[in-house]
Amino acid sequence: MGARSALAPLALIILLLAAWEAGCRVGHVPSYFLPPPSQIAAALAAGAPSLALAAWRTLSVALLALTLASVAAVSIGLAAALSPAVQRAVHPLAVGLQVTPLIAIAPLFVIWAGIDHPARAVVALAAVVAFFPIYSGTVTGLRSADPGLEKLFDLYGASPLQRLLRLRLPSAVPAIVEGHKVAAGLAIVGAVVAEFVAGSGGAQGIAWRILEAGNRLQTARMFAAILVLAVMAALLQFAFQALERRALIWWRGG
C-alpha cells in the first residue's frame, strides 16, 4: 500500500480517536466504562513488556497447536483421499467437530487436561479448531488434480504410488497451503477461547490478561491487551498470506 492510499484510513482513525477522546472528557464518562484513548495508550506503554510476553505465549501455543493439527489433518486427509471407507468414517466426525461451537466444548478440554495444566487444554482446543480447514483442504486438494492429467496417468499405466506422489500431492499444494492459512487464524481463536474458559492464570496468555483486567475493572488495560491481541492476530494473518503467496510462486513459477 502506497503512502497516498494509507492517508485516508489513517485520517479516519485519527478523527475517530479525537472524537472518542473529546467525548470522554466532555461527557465525563467514567474510565471503567470507557477510558479515553490517552489512558489506553498509557496503559499500553506501562504494560508493554508483560503484554508482549503474554502475546508471545498465546502465539507460541497457537503455533504449536497449528503444527499438531497440521500433522494430524494432513495424514488423516491423505488416508481419507486414498480410501473412500476412511473418508466416509472420518467425515461426519470432522464435520460434527467443526459445527459444534468451540466455546461449548472448551470446558471439557479444561477438565480433561486437568486444572493444573491449563496450557495443555489451550493447545488441544486450538489444535482441534485448526484441524478442519487443513483436513478439508488436503482432501479437496488431493481430488482436484486435472482430469486430463489423471487420464494421461491411466494411459501411461502409472502405479497408485506414482499417481499420489507425482500428480495428486503436487496438485493439492495450493489447497493445503490455504487450509493452513485459515487454520492459523482459527488456532488463535481457539487459544483465546480456551484461555478464557480455563480462567486461571496458569496459561498466562494474552486472553487471560484481558480477562484479568476486565475482572478488576481496569478497562484501559483491557483495551490495551485487546489491541495487542488484534495486532498479533493481524501480523500472523499477514505472515501466512505472504507465505501462501511465496508457496504459490514456487508452485507455479510466478
Binding site: L149, L152, L155, G157, R166, R252, G253
Partner: protein
C-alpha cells in the same frame, strides 16, 4: 474379447462397438473404424456424438458394451492430447514432456534428453525451464504435443487439440503437426468440430451422427500430407469440405 490383436498394417480398429451408459439410447454405435499405420482420420460430429468415447476406446481407457476393439499399439505406444494442454503447473516444460518416460521408469538423464529433443521438434527449445503459466496458449499446446510425441507413439489421439486457440495459431499448429507426423508417421485420430480443419488434417474424414454416434460417411481427402502451401484455396479442398458439410447436415437432419 475387446483387445484382440490387430491384423497386418492395422494399428487400431473398432468393430461394431457399442457403448451404453445407463438407461436410454447408447452413447455410441454400432460404430466401425479402422486405422492403418501412418493413417490420419478426422472425426467430425455434433457435441455428444461419442467422439471422445471413441478416443477412450482406442486408448484402452474404456471397454465397449458390445463389439470388439483391436489394438496393435500397446501400452506406452498410444498418446493423447486434449483440448486444454493439461500440463502440470508445478513442473517445467521439460519435466512435463518427460513425464510419460518418467512414469515408464526410464532413467532420468535419458528421459530428459528425449524430452529436450521433443521440445526442440515443436520449436520450444528455449522454453525448457518455463512453467506452463509462463507459456502462451499455442506454446502450451506445443508442449502438450511434445509430451505426446516423446514416447514415439504408434497411435496419436487428438481430442480437439486446437479448439481453444485463435485462428492464426491453429493454422500454424496444424501445419507443424503434419510436419511432425511426416517424420515418424504415427496413425492419428483427430477429433474436431471444424470441418475445414478435419479436411486439412487427414487422409479421410469420418462424419458421425448425433447420439448414438454412428459413422454417417467416410470421405477420402485427395492430395498429399503434409499439405502443400495454398491447399486451402484449391478446388479439391473446397469440394471435400462442402461434401463433409453436406454429410454433416444430413446426419443432423436425420437425428
Amino acid at each position: 474379447m475387446t483387445a484382440a490383436p490387430a491384423s497386418d498394417g492395422e494399428v487400431a480398429a473398432l468393430a461394431a462397438v457399442e457403448v451404453v451408459y445407463g438407461p436410454g439410447p447408447p452413447a455410441l454405435g454400432p460404430f466401425d473404424l479402422s486405422l492403418r499405420a501412418g493413417e490420419i482420420v478426422s472425426l467430425v460430429g455434433a457435441s455428444g456424438c461419442g467422439k471422445s468415447t471413441t478416443l477412450r476406446l482406442l486408448a484402452g481407457l474404456e471397454a465397449p458394451s458390445a463389439g470388439a476393439v483391436r489394438l496393435a499399439a500397446g501400452r506406452g505406444e498410444t498418446s493423447m492430447v486434449f483440448q486444454s494442454p493439461t500440463l502440470a503447473p508445478w513442473l517445467s516444460a521439460l519435466a512435463n514432456v518427460s513425464m510419460p518416460l518418467d512414469l515408464e521408469g526410464a532413467p532420468g538423464s535419458k528421459a530428459r534428453e528425449r524430452a529436450a529433443a521433443a521440445l526442440r521438434r515443436v520449436g520450444l527449445s528455449d522454453a525448457q525451464g518455463a512453467r506452463p503459466a509462463q507459456l502462451s496458449g499455442g506454446m502450451a499446446m506445443r508442449a502438450a504435443l511434445a509430451r505426446a510425441l516423446v514416447t514415439s507413439p504408434k497411435l496419436l489421439l487428438l481430442d480437439e487439440p486446437f479448439a481453444a486457440l485463435d485462428e492464426i495459431t491453429r493454422r500454424a499448429l496444424a501445419d507443424d503437426l503434419l510436419k511432425l507426423w511426416a517424420s515418424e508417421r504415427p496413425a492419428i485420430v483427430f477429433v474436431t468440430h471444424n470441418v475445414e480443419e478435419a479436411v486439412y488434417m487427414a487422409h479421410s474424414v469420418v462424419v458421425m451422427t448425433p447420439r448414438p454416434g454412428r459413422a454417417a460417411a467416410r470421405i477420402a481427402v485427395e492430395g498429399e500430407l503434409p499439405r502443400p502451401q495454398g491447399f486451402r484455396t484449391t478446388a479439391v479442398f473446397r469440394q471435400t469440405a462442402e461434401a463433409v458439410s453436406a454429410e454433416l447436415a444430413s446426419a443432423m437432419a436425420s437425428a
